[in-house]
């Protein structure tokens, strides 16, 4: 590994960490798309800032663009408050307009601005190591590493200082207000931090990758845990994992690094989405199937319990009566037999003692619809574990 290669990976990892932390809160607060809006609408801020400072890495430009980012949020919220359009429509109206203004400003001043829309949107991580921070003629390493490093340190200190406040206001705005923690202050604080992160990162990795790095790790982590601390740690882990492996993937393909990191993030999400133990697609589908059978079984038992006439309980008649297909009827019947809930005598189905208690308990549960009932039932008859 050459030194620029190491530097690129460090920059990517630092950006991934800096994005993952605010990303977790954006996802939890259902504001993930705000990051998309900010990443686009800062364009005019960057252009104007660039006219003033003539330096893409100037801290002033970052502050200016971040201000435009917060302005976007304010505008979106104002339009939302009028009640004339829905929230997501408000986002969708504001950022393309601001982005268009940015694009037009760039194209009208193409001669003076060494800035093109591709670069803002896509970034070029490969060049980041060569833009060095020079102080008194000494090379202090890549500029973007310094910028993102400082942003990361600020984010981590803010997170440690205000963890409790962030947690309370995210999960219960009402409680947080009554405890004297203003949800509004936290909200705009988070928005400002997100804006600054997006602006700081766009130069290195581009606006779209910033969105991917904010949302994807948090979404992936959210499928695996419901504990906030663990979610933050997992998001950082996934972000860094994608950054490093994405870099090598791009290296191998000789293609865009930021595109490759975003792709890796998508692949990691896909794997977790399919295989996550509780929230994954496969386990959700499996659980839904189980529940379906459970409901069928209870329907079947209730039917037996309800009817005393032999005709209604004849094994062939049941199929017609509950209107199930043969395969399903057979499955449910076998399941009931296996668990000793029913007996068959001369083709007539009877509830056993155990089946009777079970049915009565489920009936009580259905009528009262209380969860305590079903809990005790699970202890009594754990039907389907194994």
């Amino acid at each position: 590994m050459s030194s620029p290669q190491i530097e690129i990976q460090i920059i990517a990892a630092v950006v991934a960490m800096a994005c993952a932390i605010p990303g977790v809160f954006l996802v939890l607060r259902k504001m993930a798309l705000i990051s998309d809006a900010i990443s686009h609408s800062i364009l005019p801020g960057i252009v104007i800032g660039f006219f003033i400072t003539q330096d893409l890495n100037s801290p002033l430009l970052i502050l200016f663009a971040a201000f435009v980012g917060v302005l976007t949020v304010v505008l979106v919220e104002y339009i939302q408050k009028t009640g004339l359009v829905k929230e997501d429509t408000a986002i969708g109206l504001v950022f393309p307009a601001l982005f268009s203004i940015g694009v037009i400003m760039i194209s009208k001043n193409a001669g003076d601005v060494h800035l093109d829309v591709d670069a803002v949107l896509l970034g070029e991580l490969a060049f980041a190591p060569f833009d060095s921070m020079m102080i008194d003629g000494t090379d202090w390493g890549p500029k973007s590493l310094w910028i993102m490093g400082s942003i990361l340190i600020v984010i981590i200190s803010l997170l440690l200082l205000f963890f409790k406040e962030l947690k309370v206001s995210t999960f219960d705005a009402g409680l947080s207000a009554s405890l004297g923690i203003s949800p509004v202050v936290i909200h705009y604080g988070l928005m400002s931090v997100s804006s600054i992160t997006v602006v700081g990162a766009f130069d290195a990795v581009g606006a779209i990758l910033v969105v991917a790095l904010m949302i994807a790790p948090a979404a992936t982590a959210y499928l695996l845990t419901e504990d906030l601390k663990r979610m933050i740690v997992l998001s950082i882990f996934f972000g860094v994992l994608a950054a490093i492996s994405g870099y090598w993937f791009a290296n191998w393909l000789d293609a865009s690094i930021s595109g490759s990191i975003a792709t890796t993030l998508g692949i990691i999400f896909l794997i977790v989405y399919l295989f996550a133990p509780k929230k994954g697609l496969i386990s959700v589908l499996y659980r839904q199937k189980q529940q379906q059978i459970e409901v069928s079984l209870i329907t079947f038992l209730l039917h037996l319990n309800r009817h005393d006439e032999k005709r209604e309980r004849h094994i062939n008649h049941l199929r017609e009566h509950i209107d199930w297909q043969e395969a399903k009827a057979q499955k449910v019947l076998n399941l009931a037999l296996k668990n000793n809930l029913v007996e068959i005598e001369n083709d007539i189905v009877f509830l056993t003692e155990k089946g009777l208690t079970f049915t009565e308990k489920s009936l009580a549960y259905i009528i009262e619809n209380k969860h305590e009932k079903i809990d005790s039932m699970k202890d009594d008859f754990f039907l389907f574990r194994g």
């Binding site: 949107l121 990758l209 991917a212 949302i215």
Partner: protein, 372 residues
């Protein structure tokens, strides 16, 4: 202005582009109405980004560069993105904003990866693929516009055929299901056409700004009407006008790409509608609000007068205006207005209730009592 129309008439390229953007604006506006009303405004943004890898893959697989092939790829990958978003929101606890942002950014990243990969291939004649990123209306040729017109015609026919179904699904999905419509099919149909409209616009306005063309005309039209058919027609009109004006403005200046200008024109339409639409608009709402407040104050004054007058045998017994002083709701103007409405009479420093004024106030009292 006339000069521009002259040019429009004679210049073949300009005419093609104007026609293309107008048709595009119209169809996006109409189908966008459904997206906005289904609260899926930002789905358009996600779909347009998700279409990018499809374009790149279509090129890698077929090596063809004609719009139809590439757009077919975009359509497929846009649909995959859309259904993955649906899958995430329905099968996990992740919310739609997270699902949208996730698909949008990762698909787009994948598309960029493929595009840069294609560019590095030695033999590939890849020029022109990046026009899908930001759109270049100038690259529209007659065959593209023909494709747009055909797709628009087909979607119009489908829209008319399934109008009733679309409408009922939009406003009451549960009811639609109970009366026996195949909601899944209708839903797939609507989604398919929304994706189609987006894909169609990629070449002209690009991945990034496409969602605005879908959203803005519909959001503007929504302010002027409560009827679906009017809204769809209006949105189509606004979309077409945005396309025409946007093309005109960008053609009249150097270095002005068409996509962003169209978006800005559409945004101006939205802004205008939000403020000036009668009924819903902010301006009229403010006016109504003020009028209501004035009315309320007037009635309060009348009520106060009634309280004084009813202690007297003759309700029209004059009282000094002075005694109203401790009551803050009156001004010279409001007394004048009451007099104009024949509720009181003014005579120098005195006022007196008329019979009509007395009855109106008494009526208000009764209503108040009844409400309690």
């Amino acid at each position: 202005m006339t000069e521009y129309f002259n040019l429009l008439w004679h210049d073949y390229t300009l005419r093609t582009i104007t026609l293309g953007t107008a048709v595009l604006g119209a169809i996006c506006g109409m189908l966008g109405s459904f997206a906005v009303l289904r609260k899926e405004s930002l789905l358009g943004d996600a779909i347009s980004h998700a279409a990018l890898p499809g374009i790149a893959l279509a090129f890698i697989i077929t090596g063809a560069k004609d719009s139809a092939t590439l757009l077919l790829g975009a359509l497929v990958s846009g649909l995959i993105g859309t259904y993955w978003i649906r899958g995430i929101t329905s099968k996990t606890h992740l919310k739609s904003d997270t699902a949208l942002g996730l698909i949008l950014s990762t698909f787009f990243g994948f598309g960029m990866l493929l595009l840069t990969f294609i560019q590095k291939q030695p033999n590939a004649n890849q020029a022109g693929l990046d026009k899908y990123l930001f759109g270049q209306a100038a690259t529209l040729v007659e065959s593209d516009v023909k494709l747009m017109v055909i797709v628009t015609a087909v979607s119009l026919v489908v829209l008319l055929l399934f109008w009733k179904e679309f409408k009922i699904l939009l406003f009451d999905p549960d009811y639609t299901k109970t009366i026996g419509f195949n909601t899944k099919f209708i839903d797939v149909l609507v989604t398919f056409f929304i994706v189609l409209a987006i894909v169609l616009g990629l070449q002209t306005v690009g991945v990034v700004l496409m969602s605005a063309i879908l959203l803005a005309p519909a959001a503007a039209a929504r302010q002027w009407t409560n009827s679906l058919s009017t809204m769809v027609l209006l949105a189509g009109l606004v979309g077409a006008l945005s396309g025409i004006f946007g093309t005109a403005i960008s053609a009249s200046q150097d270095n002005l790409s068409t996509g962003p200008v169209i978006v800005l024109v559409a945004s101006v339409f939205v802004l205008f509608s939000l403020i000036f639409a009668p009924g819903r608009g902010l301006l009229f709402r403010e006016i109504r609000f003020r009028n209501n407040r004035k009315d309320l104050e007037l009635m309060k004054t009348l009520q106060f007068m009634y309280d004084i007058a009813r202690d007297h045998e003759n309700i029209s017994h004059p009282h000094a205006i002075r005694i109203l002083n401790n009551f803050q709701g009156y001004t010279k103007g409001s007394l004048k207005k009451l007099e104009n409405e024949d509720l009181i009479t003014l005579d120098g420093p005195d006022w007196a209730l008329t019979q009509k004024g007395f009855d109106t106030a008494a009526e208000m009292y009764n209503q108040h009592m009844n409400n309690e």
